[in-house]
């Protein structure tokens, strides 16, 4: 916060990875290193959460609980959900790729508050350490922690609440940092309408993080207070209301699905024009639809609670709002498709993942209205249809967008190229495995198979076996992809500064970028999507 600056003098031209030793990472103020630490951490929890998913699929091979007890199964799906949501999908793109690329995209040397940025990583680390500590008595409540069960469960709910509170605090600090960075540190000439669409996505995301996260923070404080002090906000015996917990929880947890998806949409908006060699279609529509999704997303949380006993009027309003919020999402999909139209498309790994995002997200998106409509919701509520819909949007959407970003920016982040053939093979396994795993869930869901049970009716077994086989293919694909990353990191060919002939500013920096990002702060004269013109 001090005004004395020393930055200008220090462009020593060394890559940001040059310095060695753990201190150079643990105390770094460099947004690129902090982003890299988030990426390592979140990918670790992605694999850990994935391991629990594989255990679930293993158990679901047979209609009776065979390998694990019911309690163990409950613990597994809770840990799968909680890890994937709080330790992977919420922080992965914003805190990982966002940290790395926001300053590079807007032509800045760092984020607005580098110390706060480092602090937010360590608050995050404290949070996941506390969460790991809570595994002494692991949660079996599902990742939604609904009262009254979570207020009475013997699991370490209080400890876990503290962990999630810390994770939330880290999320708020990161969002705050990004909002200020995007407002105040744009390079000369970088007007709002010349910003890369990834930045628009990240900006909208940050708004949600700052506004929604404190509410879930208080919710978990109240849950802890319920257990420690005996306050009764959510306890009907004391006049409280368990549904109030659901309102508080979803007031955060619905908008937060847009924290997950908006940055991924931003990545797709970057990748599609580069590999179609065409200007993005409908720049302003995509940009403002991000903001519209962020704001509209605050008005639909009740659609998670249609069967909780809310008033019919509230149900109707939430249902209507849910249909409205689908509009800006569709706007994006139409614009990406229009960008592809008559482009010179090439199918490098980032593009494959970006196209997969569009395809799977359309499936996930179009199955949303069935859940948003009141009549069908009653049938589909808490069935595998919800699981399938959620995974098509979150894994098929966000995670594919994340993979697109990892492949797209790998040369920039590491200075090494990936093996393209292995990358495509991994993609093929992931694409096939994903669809086999989750499409079957739509089918058993419509036929009435409820989620979150270790046992199920024998008539659903064929589909469940198919789904488990699919999940093995999916896991194999992810392992191949991870191997490719590690191999590329160690033995990849040196990457040029701009391997994809892209126009946004990060490609003007070296690969890997030097500590100060740019020799000289660039002067921006145009938007970053002028593909197919004489310049690119």
């Amino acid at each position: 916060m001090e005004g004395v600056g020393r930055m200008e003098a220090e462009g020593n031209g060394r890559g940001y990875l040059a310095e060695r030793g753990w201190r150079s990472w643990a105390f770094t103020l460099d947004h690129k290193r902090i982003g890299a630490m988030y990426l390592w951490t979140t990918i670790f929890f992605f694999l850990a959460g994935g391991l629990f998913a594989m255990l679930l699929r293993l158990e679901l091979l047979s209609p009776q609980a065979r390998y694990f007890s019911n309690h163990a199964y409950n613990v597994f799906f809770t840990l799968h959900g909680a890890m994937m949501i709080f330790l992977f999908i919420i922080p992965a793109i914003p805190s990982g790729l966002g940290n790395f690329f926001i300053p590079l995209h807007i032509g800045a040397r760092d984020v607005a508050f580098p110390r706060l940025n480092l602090a937010s990583y360590w608050v995050f680390a404290a949070g996941f350490l506390v969460i790991i500590g809570s595994l002494v008595a692991p949660m079996d409540t599902g990742w939604t922690f609904y009262t009254p069960y979570s207020a009475k469960s013997a699991a370490a709910v209080t400890t876990l609440s503290l962990g999630i509170f810390l994770i939330g605090m880290s999320s708020i600090l990161t969002g705050l940092n990004f909002i200020v960075t995007i407002h105040k540190l744009r390079a000369p000439g970088m007007t709002w309408h010349r910003l890369p669409l990834f930045i628009w996505g990240m900006y909208s995301t940050s708004i949600i993080q700052v506004i929604a996260t404190p509410v879930v923070g208080v919710t978990f404080l109240l849950l802890a207070a319920e257990r420690i002090l005996g306050v009764g906000f959510f306890d009907p015996a004391k006049g409280g209301d368990p549904v109030l917990f659901q309102h508080f929880f979803w007031f955060y947890s619905h908008p937060v699905v847009y924290v997950m998806i908006l940055p991924a949409m931003g990545i797709v908006s970057e990748v599609i024009p580069v590999f179609s060699r065409k200007p993005i279609f409908g720049y302003k529509a995509i940009a403002y639809s991000s903001v519209a999704i962020a704001l509209g997303g605050f008005l639909v949380w009740g659609h998670h609670m249609f069967t909780s006993g809310m008033s019919p009027l509230a149900n109707t309003i939430f249902s209507l709002m849910t249909f409205f919020v689908a509009v800006p999402t569709a706007v994006k999909v139409f614009n990406w498709t229009a960008t592809l139209y008559r482009g010179s498309i090439t199918f490098e790994a980032p593009m494959l993942y970006a196209l997969t995002f569009i395809f799977l997200f359309i499936v996930g998106g179009l199955t949303g209205p069935f859940l948003g409509a009141l009549a069908t919701n009653v049938q589909l509520h808490d069935t595998y249809f919800v699981v399938a819909h959620f995974h098509y949007t979150m894994m098929g959407g966000t995670v594919m967008g994340f993979f697109a970003g990892l492949h797209y920016w790998f040369p920039k982040m590491t200075g090494k190229m990936l093996n393209e053939k292995v990358a495509r093979a991994a993609w093929a396994l992931i694409f096939v495995g994903f669809n086999v795993t989750f499409f079957t869930m739509f089918i058993v869901g419509v036929r009435g198979m409820p989620r979150r049970y270790a046992e199920y009716l024998p008539k659903f077994q064929v589909e469940n076996v198919i789904s488990t086989i699919g999940s093995a293919v999916l896991a194999a694909g992810i392992l191949v992809m991870c191997w490719n990353f590690l191999h590329g990191l160690r033995k990849g060919a040196p990457a040029p500064a701009n391997p994809w002939r892209a126009l946004s500013l990060e490609w003007r920096a070296a690969s890997p970028p030097e500590t100060e990002n740019f020799h000289e702060i660039p002067h921006v004269t145009d938007w970053p999507y002028g593909y197919g013109t004489p310049k690119a």
Binding site: M1, E2, G3, V4, G5, R6, M7, E8, E10, N12, Y16, E19, R23, S24, F27, T28, L29, D30, R33, D110, A112, F113, P114, R115, L116, I172, L176, N177, I179, V180, H183, K184, L185, V210, I211, A212, T213, P214, V215, G217, V218, T219, L221, L222, A225, L229, G230, V231, G232, F233, K238, G239, G240, D241, L244, F248, F251, T515, E516
Partner: protein, 196 residues
Amino acid sequence: MSGHSGEHADPAVAFESAKLGVWTFLATEVLLFGALFTAYTVFRMKYPELFRAEHAKLDRVLGAVNTVVLITSSLMVVFGVDAIKRGKARLFEACFGATILLAAVFLCIKYLEYTAKFHHGIYPRTNLFFSIYFMLTGLHGIHVLLGMGLLSYVIILSRRGRFSASYYTPAEMSGLYWHFVDLVWIYLFPLLYLIG
């Protein structure tokens, strides 16, 4: 550490960034208390008699005194920031010191109120009104404590001669935070102590 100073070349940008950062943080804080105010509203509508009967057990005089104490502390912050803008570091430190002193008085009075309640067997678990009372005032009390730490840190910075008429960003920013803490109490006092 990678040659990052963590500071901005342009002091004007640094000041504007800090200001936007603090206001954004305060937006977060509004939502933090907002959830509890929502719970207050919900339960007040549901149990108006309970709230009418229970709120009478709070000590209005002590609440009113505390309101005056906090508003005065905010006034001291205003004087302090005004002083440092004119480069008067000693006056600034005196004003912020007075703020911390008043904050301590506030917490002492709060302590007296809490112990009196406990003495009468009133705890957070007693009923929904006191659940809300203790959660809201407790969360606010934590903010007062954090604010005291923050203001002390700013005074130390000033003792080290870091501020001048041209640079006083941490002083103004911590002042903004303190006004927010004061403002929350200005809502808490009537909602909990006065409305029947």
